[in-house]
């Protein structure tokens, strides 16, 4: 029978797989571990040979492919899904750059150290310092690269939670497609096109420990891991694994953090699963910090996935409105704190919180956005509009007096220029709350980012689980790698990480002796 409803039911299927997966694990253990983790041997003859195999077509994979091709390497660019782009193409469209030209224009002072400090603080200092510093140091160069080499367009700066100052470039396109599409175009010019529906099944490591190629499945049909036709590709120089995180893989998520099981929604694309990481472990990569799985604090239970909510919750309410605990009518967190702080606070408050703004706050926070966003959010049922504060309080069971007092305090803070309650950063144009109508989005954190992944060094080389040394011929970049962000990634730092280390991986892969 055909793959009916494959994508539509993919989440459910994975959830179902969770059960069978656990059972399979038991029977495999009984049958012997050798069966469970077969390593691919070196084929008698390879079906194809290239210089560099790049797996994954998100920011990291495409950046690696561009650099490798630019250095003259022949590249096979593999992607298991029907469409390229992974999490990158559906992402929110902001990239951090510390000390950038746009900041200079706006008179915002910033530095590499400041970004680095913010990353380390949010990461609870579990970040691998050298890796984090590379991302901070190269942040401006990376954004400039997207502009100069790819022709990417940005519309302004955004202040993301946990950052000392506004330093995040916002893509004009409004989503990661604003970089992915130019990356794909660039690659097309260079004669490299993604081979979609091509699954990385095995990494092939030779007797000397070098990764010499891959076994793939062509015509793969997500999520059926046995689908497609096996084929081998020899990588004369190296393999770059840029396969992203595992946010859509409840099975693997639960192994790392048993609280994050199948019932939780995620912002990730359905292909964000763990098989490539499992294979990396299978051939001797070391997985680091995989339990640090980030929940996004700005999502809504009234829609699936990332959806529309973050535009309002982060873009509008966090800077120009308030987040309210509906039980108390009070603020419960600095709305611009890092994600972990905020998601934890929402959960601690019983997951009954809302983000709100008044009409003026909405106008300020949504400047530059398409004007129909408001209508779309309302039509979708994710954003609710109320003619009065009383209506809003009634609709969400918020004690009105307490709510009014919270708003009064906030308005006094605006007058004073300092947030007495939460010490939130105030932009120049922050205003008092009081102009109807009022807008509300309900809050419910969702699985968003995997901080952990393969351990790598500063050259993006994967590290061997036994020796701790680099595995020759294997690079890992982007969300598939671990260490840059420690316990919690700051908003807009994944773009910087993925593009920076993707480029590093591609350059170094192409520079290997073939």
């Amino acid at each position: 029978m055909k793959s009916k409803y494959m994508g539509r039911k993919a989440r459910l299927t994975r959830r179902e797989m969770l059960g069978t997966g656990a059972l399979a694990g038991v029977s495999v253990a009984l049958a012997g571990a050798v069966e469970a983790a077969p390593r691919a041997g070196i084929p008698d003859s390879w079906d194809e040979e290239v210089d560099v195999v790049v797996v994954g077509t998100g920011f990291a994979g495409l950046a690696a492919a561009i650099e490798a091709a630019k250095a003259g390497a022949s590249v096979a660019l593999l992607e298991k899904m029907r469409t390229p782009g992974g999490n990158s193409i559906i992402s929110g469209g902001v990239i951090a750059a510390a000390g950038s030209p746009m900041q200079a224009e706006e008179g915002i002072e910033d530095s590499v150290d400041s970004l680095y400090d913010d990353m380390m603080k949010a990461g609870l200092h579990l970040n691998h310092p050298k890796l984090a510093r590379i991302v901070a140091e190269k942040s401006v160069e990376t954004v400039q690269w997207t502009i100069d080499e790819l022709g990417v367009e940005y519309r302004g700066l955004t202040h993301m939670g946990g950052h000392a100052v506004p330093r995040s470039y916002s893509l004009s396109a409004g989503s990661g497609s604003g970089i992915i599409v130019p990356q794909l175009n660039k690659l097309k010019e260079m004669g490299v096109e993604p081979r979609t529906r091509t699954l990385l099944k095995h990494l092939i490591r030779d007797a000397e420990g070098r990764v010499v190629g891959v076994q793939i499945h062509e015509k793969f049909k997500h999520p059926n891991m046995d689908s497609g036709k096996p084929k081998t590709i020899r990588a004369r120089k190296a393999v770059v694994m840029a396969t992203g995180g595992f946010g859509s893989d409840p099975d693997f998520r639960m192994l790392q953090d048993p609280r994050l099981g199948g019932d939780l929604d995620t912002t990730n694309h359905p292909g964000a699963t763990s098989e490539a990481l499992r294979e990396a472990m299978n051939i001797g990569c070391v997985l680091i910090q995989p339990s640090w799985i980030q929940l996004g604090p700005w999502t809504s239970p009234d829609e699936r996935g990332f959806g529309y909510a973050p535009h309002f919750v982060q873009g509008v309410s966090a800077s120009f409105g308030l987040w309210i605990d509906t039980l108390t009518g009070k603020r419960f967190v600095n709305e611009l704190a890092d994600r972990k702080t905020r998601a934890d606070a929402i959960l601690a408050a019983g997951n009954k919180c809302i983000a709100m703004s008044d009409a003026e706050g909405y106008a300020k926070g949504s400047a530059g956005r398409p004007t129909d966003t408001l209508d779309k959010m309302k039509a979708n049922g994710v954003l609710m509009e109320y003619a009065t504060l009383e209506d809003m309080a009634a609709a969400h069971d918020i004690p009105l007096e307490a709510l009014q007092a919270t708003i009064d305090t906030f308005n006094q803070s605006v007058d004073a220029g300092v947030d007495s309650d939460m010490k939130r950063y105030f932009p120049n144009n922050v205003g008092k709350i009081g102009t109807a109508p009022y807008y509300v989005v309900r809050l419910s954190p969702k699985i968003h980012h995997c901080m952990g992944g393969c351990g790598i060094n500063e050259k993006a080389q994967a590290l061997d689980v036994v020796t701790g040394d680099p595995i020759p011929g294997l690079y890992v970049a982007g969300e598939a790698s671990g260490g840059v962000h420690g316990a919690s990634r700051l908003g807009s730092c994944a773009y910087a990480d993925c593009l920076t280390f993707g480029r590093i991986a591609g350059q170094n892969a192409a520079a290997e002796a073939g």
Partner: protein, 221 residues
């Protein structure tokens, strides 16, 4: 009226090659040119209605048995021979399998435009999702070689092939139901999310790819 699930399943299971048998006669019925290609919401000009291969569509010969010519299909099993039949004659491929609900009017020689007298697009009885798209293409006169090469291997055609008839992406986006709060043909995720085959499949049931992440629930053909 919905076709009972079991029947639908049989219908789908009959698959791709079966339909090819029905698609064998060659002439392009002049009656179809200048209509709307049978494409829901399609209001383009007749020029872009011509099949990509330069005006030669394999059609189900309904109008004139005399003009009907069989094309010898080479290659795989089920893909060969002259076992073609007339437009809308389900039994030529589905044999005894009942693919239509009991009491359905006879469909023999019925082109898609006539099906639509009852099965109006975007109305409850719309055929969206109820019939493989290759069948619909066949019923408006577009057979295998309208999209594929004449010789195996029959690869997935480039998107340009679809756009030859269906208009540019911008035109498609403009024609998409404006009451939807998201335009599936104008996704903010960019060009890769506008690939026709991301959602619209010919020989298998189409899939709302947006629904892997969103609640949009588009009724897609």
């Amino acid at each position: 009226m919905t076709i009972p699930t079991k029947l639908r399943r049989m219908f789908w299971a009959s698959g791709f090659f079966a339909v090819c048998l029905v698609l064998v006669s060659i002439c392009f019925p002049s009656s179809l040119v200048g209509q709307n290609c049978g494409i829901p919401g399609y209001t383009g000009s007749e020029q872009i209605c011509a099949p990509a291969n330069g005006g030669l569509g394999i059609v189900l010969a309904s109008d004139s048995g005399d003009r009907r010519r069989s094309r010898q299909q080479k290659g795989e099993e089920g893909h060969s021979g002259n076992a073609f039949s007339v437009l809308g004659k389900c039994s030529s491929c589905h044999l005894e399998d009942p693919v239509l609900p009991e009491g359905h009017v006879a469909t023999v020689e019925m082109p898609l435009a006539h099906c639509r007298t009852c099965h109006t697009p975007k109305r409850p009885m719309s055929l969206a999702g109820k019939m493989p798209l290759d069948h619909k293409h066949a019923l408006v006169g577009f057979g295998c070689v309208a999209c594929h090469s004449e010789e195996a291997p029959f690869e997935e055609p480039e998107m340009e092939v679809c756009l030859t008839c269906h208009g540019t992406l911008a035109q498609l986006a403009a024609r998409t139901d404006p009451s939807l709060h998201a335009n599936p043909h104008g996704s903010p995720h960019g060009a890769p999310y506008a690939e026709c085959t991301l959602c619209h499949w010919q020989h298998e049931e189409s899939e709302d790819y947006c629904a892997t992440c969103h609640d949009f629930d588009f009724a897609l053909p």
